[in-house]
């Protein structure tokens, strides 16, 4: 009884000692190979979206509407590929919520859209959507305009162009804030140090990255899947799915999971004991494979009992993956996920 206990403690101490000697995060590489490319995609695809909106509204037609809808989905998915990065410039100026307001439990987006469409200010030359409610500024509002029963025209076209211009602006500002100039966020991110005003230590920053990953997996599990699933097949509600109008719900989750897996790979995989890395990598792969078993669109699948089970299965796998990160990975690298520090009050 006594000896194995000591043995285990020695092992734990040894592994901590070993790991603390070997851990050397390469934050500069995480920024240049993972984060900045995600924002480059967002900037480029929101620019393309804005161009498609101008083209459609100049001459509304079924074919250009299709092009615009496709551009919307592309830009929306680019955002989904950056959604797990919950730190830095995305936190300034409510950008995250201005890009996308979801979940929207009380129909705030529809409500504010209705009001704004009746507002005379909309057609004035100095109309500035970035000063309006966050609810009408981003992808959620745009999706409602683009995937309605009637093709958008008139005031709706004015509004949707304002939204796409706003999205392009936010996308380009995010990229700028990350990479340009003396105050580029990537500079602070790449070199945590005692005199760095934003990140004092490698451990602190690695903890924030881990929290970002964990938060995103929890968001997928409890919101993106949990909200439409409900408490049983008879309680499922397809219209509670994210992006149900455009049918991009599952594609969004797939992009999220791929992005999380990529961040794990570039940020943490190399620092872990091979056995734990294998378990986490397999858990990611299994979740992505399970996701691919679900037939799109999610809003319909969730209301079919057999598919409901598959979706719930994915939820459970994400829960297991989350625990691997929060417990095993955090322990192996001596990281704190942050409970009080990242969700303040």
């Amino acid at each position: 009884m006594y000896r194995p206990m000591i043995h285990r403690l020695t092992l734990a101490a040894l592994s901590l000692l070993l790991s603390s000697r070997l851990i050397a995060y390469d934050f500069a590489n995480i920024a240049t190979s993972h984060i900045v490319p995600a924002y480059q995609q967002l900037a480029a695809s929101t620019q393309a979206l804005n161009q498609a909106a101008q083209a459609y509204c100049a001459q509304p037609a079924e074919s250009s509407l299709q092009t615009l809808q496709d551009a919307h989905v592309q830009a929306f998915l680019a955002w989904q590929g950056a959604q797990h990065l919950r730190f830095g410039p995305i936190q300034y100026l409510s950008r995250e919520h201005r890009l996308q307001l979801w979940p929207d439990k009380r129909g705030t987006v529809s409500k504010h859209l209705r009001v704004l469409l009746e507002d005379a200010a909309l057609t004035q030359p100095d109309f500035d959507i970035s000063a309006k409610s966050v609810a009408v500024q981003g992808f959620s509002a745009l999706e409602q305009l683009l995937f309605a029963e009637q093709a958008p025209d008139g005031k709706r076209c004015t509004l949707l162009q304002a939204i796409t211009a706003n999205l392009q602006q936010i996308g380009s500002n995010l990229l700028h804030d990350w990479q340009d100039g003396d105050q580029a966020f990537a500079r602070y991110f790449s070199a945590p140090a005692v005199d760095n005003p934003l990140f004092t230590s490698q451990r602190e920053l690695a903890g924030q990255l881990l929290n970002s990953l964990h938060t995103q997996l929890e968001f997928i599990q409890t919101q993106k899947l949990g909200r439409p699933l409900g408490s049983g097949p008879e309680r499922a509600r397809g219209r509670r799915a994210e992006a149900w109008r455009s049918g991009a719900s599952l594609a969004a989750i797939e992009r999220n999971l791929q992005a999380c897996r990529a961040l794990y790979q570039v940020g943490f995989a190399g620092e872990l004991p091979a056995e734990l890395d294998t378990r986490i990598a397999q858990a990611f792969d299994a979740a992505i494979a399970q996701l691919q078993r679900i037939a799109p669109p999610l809003a319909q699948s969730v209301e079919r009992p057999a598919q409901w089970q598959e979706i719930q299965q994915l939820q459970q796998q994400l829960n297991g993956l989350r625990e691997l990160l929060a417990r095993d990975l955090a322990q192996a690298l001596d990281l704190s996920l942050g409970f009080n520090s990242l969700d303040g009050d």
């Binding site: 005003p197 934003l198 004092t200 409970f339 009080n340 520090s341």
Partner: protein
């Protein structure tokens, strides 16, 4: 769902048994909210060695805790934008009443009992207008909500009673939110936080103090009051993260109301590590010093009651501060309770890695 909660509550009740939670010899206890990895939320009572004596499951995440001056009842407040306040009998651990937010109101997470223990005041959001209010609940009326008065600002958060038993000092954080969009701060460009002194009977505003105009995005959130009515204030900055505003302040109430906020700065290196965010603030038992937690920087700074910087203690994700004769008990998000005596002697009392201690704790 409801049945499962009920069962867990029943279990909590069984765990408690019939024993008194408060020790007969008056030994101190600690109260704190916490959450586990499965996102269950509790009110916990601990002994002074950090051992958990009781866990009561809450319907959602808790935040502040107040105890009546007679130490019979603890009020545990839902985290904003919460809709419940539970009153817990401190001798049995039983829930004696569940307050529910009034229509058009939600709780901000803090409250105060009157000196006779018969009135509970709660900071609330009248969310359609965005006005901060203080709701009043009376024991004689079965803890019904009997009225409200203005907090004289947006976003009232923590507040306390001065030694006269009449005057409230209220931290109006200045940030407007609506429960439809609970995490969205809709007025960051226009925010005007303040510290308001308000009569608790008629809601009359005595004095109001704001940070300097160029620091108008300094949200005044948490405060504590010493026996001689010094108010220590912990703030959170909503502006550019590369700026370094003061985050801690002192204020002394006087009836003319002409004293300004005394803004405090730690030495430059330390100030930077506060990460523009302070969580809890508490005076020591003798009132000679106070402690402020900065969870983002993993730091607790110590200050004299005249505003001199004394030192700092490191503890990752630290937030809750309880007060003992020996010093402060500090809780963190990794389930640890540490006792800090003097300026730097820290002792780990207990740690449960499955638990995350929430923002505030209180001694009874």
């Amino acid at each position: 769902m409801q049945r499962r909660n009920f069962l867990k509550l029943g279990l909590a009740g069984l765990l408690l048994g019939p024993t008194r939670l408060l020790a007969a010899d008056g030994t101190q206890r600690l109260l704190s909210c916490c959450s586990d990895n499965a996102r269950n939320h509790y009110l916990a009572m601990l002994d002074t060695d950090g051992n958990i004596l009781m866990q009561l499951q809450l319907p959602a995440r808790g935040h502040g805790i107040s105890v009546d001056p007679q130490q019979r009842i603890a009020a545990v407040f839902a985290r904003r934008p919460g809709t419940f306040v539970w009153l817990v009998d401190l001798s049995s651990g039983e829930v004696i009443h569940k307050l529910q937010a009034a229509a058009g109101r939600h709780y901000y997470g803090h409250g105060v009992f009157s000196p006779d223990g018969d009135t509970l005041l709660c900071s609330e959001n009248a969310f359609e207008s965005g006005d901060g209010v203080i709701g009043s609940y009376q024991r004689q009326d079965g803890w019904q909500r009997v009225g409200e008065f203005a907090s004289h600002g947006i976003g009232p958060h923590e507040f306390r009673l001065l030694s006269d038993g009449e005057t409230l000092v209220i931290a109006n954080g200045g940030i407007r939110t609506h429960p439809d969009l609970p995490r969205i701060k809709s007025n960051l460009a226009q925010m005007r936080p303040n510290l308001a002194y308000v009569n608790r009977h008629d809601g009359r505003l005595l004095h109001r103090h704001e940070p300097p105009v160029h620091w108008h995005q300094l949200s005044i959130r948490h405060l504590d009051v010493s026996a001689d009515d010094r108010v220590a204030i912990a703030m959170q900055y909503e502006g550019n993260p590369l700026q370094r505003p003061p985050l801690i302040a002192l204020h002394q109430f006087d009836h003319r109301g002409d004293a300004d906020l005394q803004l405090l700065q730690a030495p430059q290196q330390v100030q930077a590590r506060l990460r523009n965010y302070c969580g809890s603030v508490r005076f020591s038992q003798d009132g000679a010093r106070f402690a402020v937690s900065s969870p983002r920087g993993g730091l607790v700074t110590l200050w004299s009651s005249d505003g001199d910087y004394l030192g700092a203690h490191q503890q990752a994700d630290v937030c809750g501060i309880a007060v003992q004769r020996e010093g402060f008990v500090l809780s963190d998000g990794s389930g640890a309770q540490q006792r800090l005596t003097g300026l730097s002697q820290a002792t780990l009392l207990s740690q449960d890695r499955q638990l995350h201690w929430d923002n505030h704790q209180l001694e009874v």
